[in-house]
């Protein structure tokens, strides 16, 4: 059977399991007595082992197997879950994560020295205790009935895999659905199977129970069905079962219900439940939203054509089309929604590791993780949140002794929250650390020549995030292990701006700092300022536009090859959009329109004409155009012409 087509499914499920493991292990480090979490960690390692073995990824299988054994000892109380064990388990999770990345990229799985050492260490700490005496059971037939988790992807494959694995335990004498049906993948969720085996029902039940996707499992000799989820220890896969125990008494044959054939006695299946969720590749969802965006663009064009020659019937039809498209777009957006927990699940681990590196103690509280965000935003927030956590731990949270001296508990608390505020999603990270020394940062910015004093003080009062985002401005005297090189906040601001959002910041000396990421709820649609240069319309994202204004050509000041205009009290550098975009030059005459952009030093870009504002569906540029720096995307105007969305700031700063 060719399993390569299931690689994508394997990767996504294993990555999810590894993320859950990271999070659970960090939780267990703080509260090692939680039996339910110990069991879950064990099961997750077991799942990874099983799936990796099935797919033939031997290094992953081996390591998961050893870590599973180690967790088995821990949950049985034979080994403490101390810091060393947690480190070993987390190291294993990281190693497996890198291998899964290799699987995804179709690279060979290499077992380097680190991996070998990790595996040996896991093996050395996972020496199993002597096996408990086996329960007496005899050879005979065992009935297995199981229902697949309806949320599980590819039920056909799962059904056949269960069948194949059970077949290794003995001879399958009856199966419903039949083997050829399972092999064809036409399997809805319920299976009933009679197995002639030397293993007692308890061992078969143990084995089936190790496959977490199978719910409502019943195993027994005839009608004496066991529920493995209630009473049995999970002790591993078939390969770990060892030889079947010797029979001490023959097992009773399966009982036959009145009016049923022997086969029917083994073939009682619960009616399969209809699947309520399915797993869909994210690039398909991206494609769906793209198509809906295309439809919206075409719809706008039709409106425009109808405006030229109005027809009441056409207007009605277009109105109906607009309503349908709005609904379709809502559905497409909903399908892409992902709970914030997908993003936050791994963060406790990040906080743990960062705090350790900085010799500090910190914990993370997450609020609002049930909020749903578009997956593009979830993916885009990963890096900035890591930067923010790094900054908070390095700059904000004090060392435990300093905290105690300041009357605070030794462990700093980071609180990450996510809430919907009107049309925005606000993701906030608060730390209870020392706060930002704003006057010191202002002095540092002035002393380094990055900003003049009035500008630095104004930013310090009104826009702390922008002050700290100034490239190269660091809060630390010496670059630390984690931060202090002045590349943190500017990266956060850039990443959030790329998502169409903005960053704000509040700080209270001695009490802590809060960073807010304010993000649009509807990525893909942006409000643009449309301007014209050299006969072509371009879109400017409104995020950094302060306003549009009219300037006088005879008031333009020239100094050292640069031009300046006055805007309010600010003397702003003047750029020409024609020049920035490499278009045909033209002299500024009379009064000309300009766009004022927010920056450390606001600047003005002269345009030929301000066309207006518009909500636009931004399409990706594609593999060729995206290589051109400064292009952010492209949209289609109502008459069908492409309009480039350009990031003039990128060129204005360097020109």
């Amino acid at each position: 059977m060719d399993l390569s087509k299931y690689r994508h499914l394997y990767v996504s499920e294993t990555q999810e399991n590894l993320e859950r493991l990271s999070s659970l292990l960090v939780d267990l480090e703080a509260d090692p007595g939680r039996k339910d979490r110990l069991d879950t960690v064990f099961r997750l390692f077991h799942s990874i082992k099983g799936m990796s073995g099935t797919m033939g990824y031997t290094p992953l299988f081996d390591l998961a197997h050893r870590l599973e054994d180690l967790m088995d000892l821990v949950r049985r109380g034979s080994r403490p879950l101390d810091a060393e064990t947690i480190d070993l388990l987390l190291g294993g999770v990281d190693r497996m994560g890198r291998w899964v990345t290799d699987v995804e990229a179709e690279r060979p799985l290499e077992v380097d020295e680190d991996a070998r050492e990790l595996g040996e260490k896991a093996l050395a700490t996972s020496v199993a205790p002597a096996p408990a005496p086996e329960a007496a059971a005899g050879p005979g037939e065992v009935v297995v009935r199981a229902s697949l988790d309806p949320a599980c992807a590819d039920p056909g494959v799962r059904g056949f895999l269960l069948y194949r694995k059970l077949k290794k335990l003995g001879e399958v004498v009856a199966c419903d659905p039949a083997e050829d049906v399972l092999r064809s993948g036409a399997f809805a969720g319920g299976i009933a199977l009679t197995l002639r085996t030397e293993h007692p029902p308890e061992r078969v039940a143990e084995f089936v129970a190790t496959l977490p996707e199978w719910l409502e499992v019943e195993v027994g000799a005839g009608e004496q069905l066991l529920d493995p989820g209630d009473s049995l220890e999970l002790s591993g896969d078939l390969e770990l079962l060892g030889p079947p125990p010797r029979a001490t008494a023959p097992a009773p044959p399966p009982k036959q219900r009145q009016g049923e054939s022997p086969r029917a006695a083994a073939a009682i299946v619960r009616a399969p439940r209809a699947a309520r969720t399915i797993r869909i590749r994210t690039d398909w969802l991206d494609g769906l939203l793209d198509r809906v965006g295309d439809l919206l663009i075409v719809s706008q064009r039709l409106w425009n054509l109808n405006r030229q020659n109005p027809d009441p019937a056409m207007s009605d039809a277009l109105g109906e089309l607009a309503n349908l498209l709005a609904g379709l777009r809502g559905d497409a957006m909903t399908a892409r929604m992902t709970p914030v927990s997908v993003l936050t699940q791994r963060l406790p681990r990040v906080v743990r590791d960062l705090a350790r590196q900085a010799d500090k103690a910190a914990s993370l509280v997450v609020r609002g993780e049930d909020q749903q965000l578009d997956r593009a935003i979830i993916e885009g927030l990963d890096a900035p949140l890591t930067h923010m956590l790094r900054n908070a731990i390095e700059h904000g949270i004090e060392a435990p002794a300093d905290r105690e001296q300041a009357g605070k508990p030794p462990t700093g608390v980071l609180t990450l929250s996510c809430e919907r505020v009107r049309d925005e999603i606000v993701v906030s990270l608060r730390d209870d650390g020392r706060g930002v020394d704003v006057p010191r940062m202002v002095e540092r910015a002035v002393a380094s020549g990055m900003l003049d004093r009035s500008r630095a003080e104004a930013l310090g009062e009104r826009d702390l995030a922008r002050l700290l985002a100034h490239p190269g401005l660091s809060a630390l005297d010496e670059a630390g292990a984690l931060a202090g090189r002045g590349v943190g906040m500017d990266a956060v601001v850039d990443s959030v701006a790329a998502l169409g959002g903005r960053v704000t910041m509040e700080t209270v000396p001695g009490e802590g700092t809060t960073v807010h990421l304010r993000l649009p709820r509807t990525p893909g649609i942006s409000r643009l300022l449309l301007v014209e240069a050299d006969g072509q319309v371009f879109g400017l994202p409104l995020g950094r536009v302060l306003r549009t204004d009219v300037f006088a050509a005879d008031e333009v000041e020239r100094e050292g090859g640069a031009a300046y205009v006055l805007h309010g009290d600010d003397r702003c550098r003047l750029h020409r959009l024609r020049h920035l975009l490499g278009l045909a030059p033209a002299e500024l005459v009379g009064r000309f329109p300009g766009v004022v952009f927010a920056s450390e030093q606001p600047y003005v870009v002269a345009v030929d004409r301000v066309v207006g504002q518009q909500d636009a569906v931004i399409k990706p540029l594609g593999p060729l155009l995206e290589r051109i720096e400064g292009l952010q995307g492209v949209t289609i105007d109502p008459v069908g012409h492409p309009v480039f969305v350009v990031d003039v700031g990128r060129f204005a700063v360097v020109s």
């Binding site: 060729l624 051109i628 292009l631 289609i636 069908g640 492409p642 480039f644």
Partner: protein, 140 residues
């Protein structure tokens, strides 16, 4: 071996693509210029809500005095959304041509040329479209 060619008029030169490698031929339409794009990138066009990059084939192939593009040939590389801009096109059947061995006019990259053919009216060179597209991707 291709049996039908889409022969593109580039002014002093004609270049042919195997018809199978072309998905569509579009008539004149406005081009949006691409800021900071390479000089041979004529611009982009919107076709069925897809934005196609239009490579001016004459300039890309450095053909002297190539006519300005007014017809757009969409090539069968959907992931690239790529079109070549040429002055005009016509379809030629192989059976109406004869092979010629001598290159009679300017062709910059001999490696792109699969063969030279002649009809009673004109000669043309058959391009290795994959090779040309790869060169576009490389130079972009």
């Amino acid at each position: 071996m291709a049996e039908r060619f889409l022969v593109c008029d580039l002014g002093v030169t004609r270049l042919g693509f195997p018809v199978d490698s072309v998905t569509e031929v579009l008539g004149p339409r406005p081009l949006a210029r691409v800021p900071w794009g390479p000089p041979w990138l004529a611009g982009v066009i919107n076709h069925r809500a897809r934005v196609h990059s239009v490579v001016d084939l004459g300039r890309f192939a450095e053909i002297p005095e190539a006519a300005a593009p007014s017809v757009f040939v969409l090539v069968d590389r959907p992931e690239l959304n790529l079109a070549f801009g040429v002055a005009g096109v016509q379809v030629v059947e192989r059976r109406t041509t004869v092979q010629v061995t001598e290159l009679r006019y300017y062709v910059p990259e001999a490696a792109w040329i699969l063969e030279a053919l002649s009809t009673p009216e004109f000669e043309f060179h058959v391009l290795d479209l994959e090779g040309v597209v790869d060169a576009v991707v490389e130079r972009f």
